[in-house]
Amino acid sequence: MEINGNAAAADGDMASPHLTGAAVDIGKKGLSESEIAWMRAWLLPLQQAGKIDVEEEFYQACFHITVYSSYAPQAMPRVPRRRSSTTLLAAGIR
C-alpha cells in the first residue's frame, strides 16, 4: 500500500479537507503560463466571494480547491411553459 508522504492528517485542525469530499486538486502539468493565469483569474473572484478556497501548490503543481455549500449557482428562472401551437389550434377547433 502506497502512502502519500505529503498527505495531511486525518483528524484535527490540520486534517485534509479531501476527506469531506468537498476538495479536489486540479493539476497544472501541461498548462502554459497563460492558461494558469486564466485559472487564477477565474478562481480568484470566487475565493474573494467566500465560495471556494484555493491553495496553489508548487511541489505537486496543482490547484487545491475546496468548494463550500455557499457555492450554489442561481437556478435558472422558471419560464412558464408555453403550449405548442398545435394544442392551441386543437383547443380553438373545439
Partner: protein, 313 residues
C-alpha cells in the same frame, strides 16, 4: 689706432643706446622662409606681430620683405593684432573645400598643417565662415578677392556672424575642430548629462496580473472550520464511502473533454460533493469557452494535455 678703437667703442655705445637702430637688421624678415609663432614663446610683441603678418602675407600669396618701422609693417601689425591667435588668413577654394592654415603649437619648419574641411554641408560652411571671418579681419581684400567665385564661401560669408562658440561642436566634422574644442570634448566625455529617456509603448490590452494563490496554515484552518460548520463529515473507510454514494451524498466527478480524471485514481475515489461537482461542471464549461485558437478543443497545453483532477490524497 686708438682713434679707430675709440670710434668702434663709440659706435657700439651708440648702438646700445639706440636699440631700434641696432635691431632693424634683425627685424627684416624674408618671406620666402616660413616663420611660425610658438604658443607661449618669449619673443617681444613686435616680433610676434611681424611674424604673424608675414605668415598672413605668405598665405595670401604676397612676396617681398617687410621692413619694420615702415607703414606697411605697421598695417600688417595692426591686422595681426586684430586677428585671433593661431589663425592666419585662409584661401577659399571652389567646391566648398576650405584649406585652413593653422599655426602649429610645436617646433619644426613643417609646422603648418593643412586642414581641409571636405564636408560640403552647413557644418562645413559654418567652419569656413568662421575661418573666413578671422581672415577677413586680417586681410579683408585678399579674402574678398578669393571668395568671390566660390558659392559655399559666399554662403559661409553670410553666416559669418556665427561664432565657433555658438555653434555646437558635435555638428561639425571632428577634423575641423580647434584644439580648444577637442579639449572641451575630452572634458565633456568625462562629464555626465541627464538624458531624457522617453518611450511610448502602445497599449494592446489591459493585463491584470493575478499573483499565485498560495496556501497557508490559516487557509487550511479556515477550510476545516467551514467544513465543520457546514456539517460535512469525514469519510473514515470504504463502508462509509459506499453508504454516502448510495445516499447520493457523493456524486461522480464530472469528467468531460475539458476535465479529465487522473487514471491512477481508484474508481471508488472518483466522487465528490454535489456542490463540488457543480462547480467543476461550470469550470469545465468555462475552460471550453476559453480554449485558445489553434488548440484541439481541449483545455490544457498546446500538446493536448488536459488537467487531471485528483480527488483525495
Amino acid at each position: 689706432m686708438r682713434t679707430r678703437f675709440a670710434f668702434v667703442v663709440f659706435a657700439l655705445a651708440l648702438g646700445l643706446a639706440l636699440p631700434g637702430f641696432a635691431s632693424t637688421a634683425r627685424r627684416t624678415v624674408p618671406l620666402n622662409k616660413t616663420h611660425h609663432r610658438r604658443a607661449g614663446s618669449h619673443r617681444p610683441a613686435a616680433t610676434h606681430h611681424a611674424h604673424a603678418s608675414t605668415a598672413g602675407r605668405a598665405a595670401a600669396g604676397q612676396a617681398g620683405p617687410v621692413r619694420a618701422g615702415t607703414a606697411e609693417a605697421a598695417a600688417l601689425r595692426a591686422a595681426a593684432e586684430r586677428a585671433p591667435l593661431g589663425v592666419t588668413p585662409l584661401k577659399v577654394t571652389s567646391a566648398g573645400r576650405v584649406p585652413v592654415r593653422r599655426a602649429a603649437s610645436g617646433h619644426g619648419s613643417a609646422t603648418h598643417r593643412l586642414v581641409e574641411a571636405t564636408a560640403t554641408g552647413p557644418a562645413a560652411t559654418g567652419v569656413a565662415a568662421t575661418e573666413q571671418a578671422a581672415a577677413e579681419k586680417a586681410d579683408p581684400e585678399q579674402v574678398s578677392r578669393d571668395a568671390a567665385p566660390s558659392e559655399p564661401a559666399t554662403a559661409g560669408k553670410a553666416d559669418s556672424e556665427q561664432l565657433p562658440s555658438e555653434q555646437a561642436p558635435s555638428e561639425r566634422p571632428a577634423i575641423a575642430r580647434t584644439s580648444a574644442e577637442r579639449t572641451a570634448g575630452k572634458r565633456g566625455a568625462l562629464t555626465t548629462h541627464a538624458v531624457a529617456r522617453e518611450a511610448t509603448i502602445p497599449t494592446l490590452a489591459k493585463l491584470h496580473f493575478v499573483p499565485p494563490l498560495r496556501g497557508s496554515r490559516e487557509s487550511l484552518l479556515r477550510q476545516n472550520e467551514k467544513d465543520t460548520a457546514e456539517g460535512l463529515v469525514r469519510i473514515r473507510d470504504d463502508e462509509q464511502l459506499n453508504a454516502m454514494r448510495a445516499d447520493r451524498e457523493l456524486v461522480q466527478l464530472p469528467a468531460s473533454s475539458a476535465l479529465l480524471v487522473n487514471q491512477a485514481l481508484p474508481y471508488n475515489r472518483r466522487y465528490c460533493r454535489p456542490t463540488t461537482a457543480r462547480f467543476f461542471e461550470r469550470f469545465g464549461a468555462g475552460a471550453l469557452c476559453a480554449v485558445p485558437p489553434g488548440n484541439s478543443g481541449k483545455f490544457g497545453g498546446t500538446d493536448g494535455s488536459v488537467p487531471a483532477v485528483a480527488d483525495g490524497d
